[in-house]
């Protein structure tokens, strides 16, 4: 299992100046994550999500995170 604060730390360590919101739904291993960062400027949605996925690579592979609903945004 992975805690919300661990997820936030993993993402902020990998994606500079990012704001991360984490909610769980039907269980602690089902996460709704929103990441806002200027790093996403000019990147396609696929590339933005790949940045977040690479920050959570181990947790996704081990299924510590079983399901991840992801939303990425640039700061407006």
């Amino acid at each position: 299992m992975v805690t919300k604060s661990e997820v936030i730390k993993l993402i902020t360590n990998n994606i500079p100046n990012s704001e991360v919101l984490v909610e769980t739904f039907n269980g602690n291993d089902h996460l709704q994550v929103t990441v806002i960062s200027s790093e996403f400027n000019g990147l396609s949605l696929v590339k933005q999500h790949q940045l977040v996925y690479s920050a959570l690579k181990a947790e996704l592979a081990s299924e510590a995170i079983h399901a991840l609903a992801l939303k990425t945004q640039t700061p407006n």
């Binding site: 949605l45 696929v46 999500h49 790949q50 996925y53 996704l60 399901a67 609903a69 992801l70």
Partner: protein, 107 residues
């Protein structure tokens, strides 16, 4: 990932203009995210083929490496990786999905 799996994945991707690697089938999706994609494509009246990754562990893991995308479902449009459930939902809501698919299928 060995070439045999990579070739099999390539053949699957090329087998249909719109190809979805999902958990379960069109009629029996086995996961909420996979179901999202099926419902979206159905509501747009788009023809698509599916492959049940639950039936083949090598494909299930290989497809993640193939597109550097760690989750299922995965949608391919004319061989190009389009996205998973989240991206399909966002593109659907913005109207971009219908437009992009129609343009690609018309060309």
């Amino acid at each position: 990932m060995d070439n045999q799996i990579k070739d099999k994945i390539q053949k699957l991707i090329d087998s249909s203009p719109v190809m979805v690697f999902m958990k379960g089938t069109k009629l029996m999706p086995q996961c909420g995210f996979s179901n999202n994609v099926v419902q979206i494509l159905n509501s747009l009246g788009i023809e698509f083929s599916t492959y049940d990754v639950l039936s083949d562990f090598e494909i299930r893991e290989g497809i993640k490496q193939y597109s550097n995308w760690p989750t299922i479902p995965q949608v391919y449009l004319k061989g190009e990786f389009l996205g998973g459930s989240d991206i399909l939902i966002e593109m659907y809501n913005s109207g971009e999905l219908k437009e992009k698919i129609e343009i690609e299928l018309a060309s």
